[in-house]
């Protein structure tokens, strides 16, 4: 297997939750590729499966969750390893977690253990992946990392407990922890939703800056298309566990194909026009438990074609170079 120049390739990812109530298809077909050093934005409404996608890649799903299909290919010296074939608890995947693929979590408040200092938790990560490092060297590296993420007085803050830090500081500590082992891929799962509006811009600015300095590839998960427009090179739009459109930022913002993508773009407050117009997408997200036939978006879609959209699942079609969409408006045979 070759990596085609991608650092990470996700193919047909399917992750389900199994419970007494039934099977919840949290992820039901997600495809994307990530080139070294680029920023991929993943956007979609709450509950569409963004976090579960990230957890599936790292194989850290919560109890009852299982990836049932697909490939997650991580490139290694030109070859690719499928992370889904590795033993979930084995040493191989553990060497990848934190070291090659690191993650920033949604909730900086609860993402740190309340009874350990942030330094303890950062140093743990550094020492885990750098066996040769002494305690003092690891600590120096953690302080340096905290310094780089703009933590005030890193040499003393390192010994603080999370509850003594503000939300913004905690998120900086989280970023420092994720970057402490120099990952090639950073997954940032809504790094700004839990922090103050005033801090959000700072955190994004910091991530942008660090991405430039360290050159890692970033998967930026958000439901804020403004963030994507500012940071991302490419975009994946998700709806109800499915990737519905994938393309470059220009393609998505200037030539959105999927009706859902268009709806999302239309719902961005258009401040530039002088007055705020919000055009909400009609209807509500159907329950992921319900066995929905056809396109998941069809009950809310303005362009629904009866007898097609509600019966058949649309296939993914590459409409233009690198721009893919799953929608019956773009039939497969119309291509080539």
């Amino acid at each position: 297997m070759t990596d085609n120049g991608n650092v990470l390739t996700v193919r047909n990812l399917k992750t389900h939750f199994f419970s007494r109530e039934g099977t919840l298809k949290a992820i039901d077909g997600v495809d994307f590729e990530l080139k070294p050093g680029e920023v991929l934005g993943i956007a979609g409404e709450s509950g569409c499966g963004k976090s579960v996608t990230a957890q599936s890649i790292l194989r850290i799903l919560p109890k009852h969750g299982r990836t049932v299909d697909g490939e997650v290919l991580l490139s290694r010296n030109g070859a690719a390893v499928d992370l889904l074939t590795l033993d979930e608890e084995g040493p191989e995947i553990r060497r990848i977690r934190g070291k090659e693929i690191a993650m920033i979590f949604q909730e900086p408040m609860t993402s740190f253990s309340p009874v350990h200092t942030i330094g303890n938790q950062i140093i743990e990560s550094i020492r885990l992946h750098n066996r040769g490092l002494s305690k003092r060297e690891a600590r120096a590296r953690a302080i340096d990392m905290l310094h780089r993420v703009g933590m005030p007085n890193p040499a003393s803050t390192i010994d603080e407990y999370p509850f003594n830090l503000s939300g913004g500081m905690r998120q900086r500590a989280m970023i420092a922890m994720a970057l402490s082992c120099g990952p090639r891929v950073l997954i940032a799962d809504e790094p700004t939703t839990a922090v103050d509006v005033t801090i959000q811009a700072q955190v994004l600015e910091l991530l942008k800056e660090l991405q430039g300095q360290l050159g890692m590839a970033v998967i930026m998960i958000t439901h804020d298309l403004g963030v994507i427009a500012e940071l991302a090179d490419r975009v994946l739009i998700m709806y109800l566990g499915k990737g519905v459109e994938f393309g470059t930022v220009e393609q998505i913002f200037h030539n959105p194909l999927h009706p859902y993508t268009r709806g999302l773009l239309a719902s961005i407050p258009k401040l530039t026009r002088g007055r705020e117009v919000i055009e909400p997408i009609q209807g509500t997200v159907p329950s992921p438990y319900d066995p929905l036939t056809g396109c998941p978006f069809n009950p809310r879609c303005a362009h629904r074609m009866a007898g097609v959209c509600d019966l058949e699942m649309p296939e993914v079609v590459e409409v233009e170079e690198g721009h893919r969409v799953a929608c019956h408006l773009y039939p497969k045979d119309a291509q080539t």
């Binding site: 977690r97 070291k99 979590f105 949604q106 993402s111 740190f112 253990s113 309340p114 009874v115 350990h116």
Partner: protein, 329 residues
Amino acid sequence: MGEFIVRRLLLMIPTLIIVSSIAFFVIQAPPGDFVSAHAARLEERGQDVDRAVLEAMRARYGLDQPIHVQYFRWVRNMLRGDLGVSFDWNAPVTAVIARRIPNSILISLVSFLYVYIVAIPIGMLSAVRQYSLADYFFTFVAFIGLGIPNFLFALVVLWLVFSATGSVMIGLFSTEYVDAAWSWSRLLDMARHIWIPALIVGTEGTAKIVRVMRANLLDELQKPYVMVARAKGLPQARVNYKYPFRIAVNPVVSTIGWTLPSLVTGEMLVSLVLGLPTLAPVFFRSLQMQDMYLAGGIVFVLTFLTLIGTLVSDILLGWIDPRIRFSSM
């Protein structure tokens, strides 16, 4: 932390005074006093009772004084470390208590260790393997342990031991060791007996702590920091051990505060049922005889020990949980 300990120690003084005052007045509440109880007992045995002797006894013990005078004298002496005299035993209260209290403390201590050493791992196992066969089994056992009254449990255990070994394991020692001086073999002999009262006293607490531990850990296991720790690349066992196990133990430590008093009362009840040479029979008799300084002294000492135990558990909690250390100490 130091200031916290001093504050707690100072707070113990009024608590002890209040508890022992209540004890004093409750013991005095029934009509009559020790001398009349003593006279009644002599008459029962058919002995003649000389009223003059009784009055002389009253004067000697200060029982002819008004009750508030007796009370203040008692409190004043207590502050000097003098718990008074037991009329019944004709000995200082401290001496009577000192002879019996090691057995009481030992039973409570062994029950305490049993509660936590057994409950914490079982609670953890039940949580980590939620809805497994082991979980159902222990949940069922804990349910039974909670439901059975201690005295019934004591009788069942005695019967089981008797039908299995043919010997009645009543008491704390085999006959040859009852009055022997402390030695290794006496201690060993005690260990062979003490598990019965400890099992009976501790089982209810164990069942409760299993449930507390299981619920805490189930809660902690799904906290985001667990996933974060996995995302670092830590092995699952180390993740569990360092984070959720460690954090779920904190609230369990805080349960020591309410287990201790229930262990003490449990020990008293079981000692009465099994006839163990602890403080319990002495306390029971002192109440019957209205031997008030002895009864009050026992309440005082047990309360003191419980308060000390609770203080130690709070210090422990502050030591292991920085959130508490930073907020309240």
